[in-house]
C-alpha cells in the first residue's frame, strides 16, 4: 500500500504533552487528520478527554479533521487559542 509522509507540528500544551515539537510520520494512504489525533490520544493519556482535536490545521490553514492527508502535508492540531 502507498504511504504518505506528513510532518506533524505540536505547539503549546501539545508540545508539552508529546515532548516533541515536530514529528515525521509515514502513514497509510487514506489516513485522515482525525486518525492521527486518535493515535496521539492512544499514546498520551492526558488527551483522553479530547475525542476530537480542538482544531486542525493543514498547511497553515484551518481544515476539517476529516480531510485526507497527502504526501508532504504539514499537520498541526491547534489547542484552544489564547492570543491578545
Amino acid at each position: 500500500m502507498r504511504r504518505v509522509k506528513v510532518r506533524l507540528l505540536c505547539f503549546a500544551v501539545l508540545r508539552d504533552i508529546t515532548g516533541r515539537a515536530e514529528t515525521e510520520l509515514e502513514l497509510a494512504d487514506g489516513t485522515r487528520a482525525r486518525d492521527v489525533w486518535q493515535s496521539l490520544r492512544a499514546q498520551h493519556g492526558q488527551l483522553a478527554a479530547y475525542e476530537l482535536p480542538p482544531m486542525t490545521a493543514i498547511n497553515e490553514s484551518y481544515a476539517s479533521p476529516d480531510q485526507l492527508l497527502r504526501d508532504g502535508d504539514e499537520l498541526a492540531f491547534i489547542p484552544p487559542v489564547a492570543g491578545g
Partner: protein
C-alpha cells in the same frame, strides 16, 4: 508586514506608521499582562505561536476588517515569548478620517484575533503554571 515580534512593542511608532494627514482620529488598543486570572495570582505569561500561520491569520483578519471599514488604516503587532505584569502583549492601531471607523475596526480586530489566531499563553504564578484554555 510582520505582525509578530519577540521585542517590546513601541506603540507610538505604530501610531506614526498608520496615521495619514487625512485622518482625524486614531484608536490605540494595547492588551496588557494583568496580575490575576480566574482568582489566581499571575506573575508572567509565556506566549507561543504557530508563527507562519499566525502571521497569515492576522493578515486575513486585517483584510476582512479593512473591507468592513474601508476608510480605516490598520496596524497590528503581537508580542511572543516571556512577558511580565504590565507588559503589552498586543497593540492595534486604527486611524480614520472620523472616529467611528477607528473604534469599530479596533474592536472587531481584537475580538477576532482572540478567536482564531494560533497563539497560546502559559500563565505562571506562585501556584504553578498552566496553558490557558486547556481543560485537563
Amino acid at each position: 508586514m510582520t505582525h509578530l515580534t519577540d521585542s517590546p512593542i513601541d506603540a507610538r511608532a505604530l501610531v506614526a506608521q498608520v496615521m495619514r494627514r487625512s485622518d482625524g482620529a486614531y484608536v490605540l488598543f494595547e492588551g496588557v499582562i494583568r496580575n490575576h486570572h480566574d482568582g489566581r495570582a499571575v506573575e508572567s505569561i509565556f506566549y507561543d505561536a504557530y508563527r507562519p500561520m499566525a502571521e497569515k491569520e492576522i493578515a486575513r483578519i486585517i483584510d476582512d476588517v479593512a473591507r468592513e471599514f474601508p476608510h480605516a488604516a490598520i496596524a497590528v503587532v503581537h508580542r511572543l515569548g516571556l512577558l511580565h505584569v504590565g507588559d503589552s502583549s498586543i497593540a492595534i492601531v486604527c486611524s480614520s478620517p472620523h472616529r467611528g471607523e477607528s473604534f469599530g475596526a479596533c474592536r472587531a480586530l481584537i475580538d477576532r484575533i482572540k478567536q482564531t489566531v494560533p497563539i497560546w499563553k502559559k500563565e505562571k504564578g506562585p501556584d504553578g503554571e498552566e496553558w490557558v484554555g486547556w481543560q485537563k
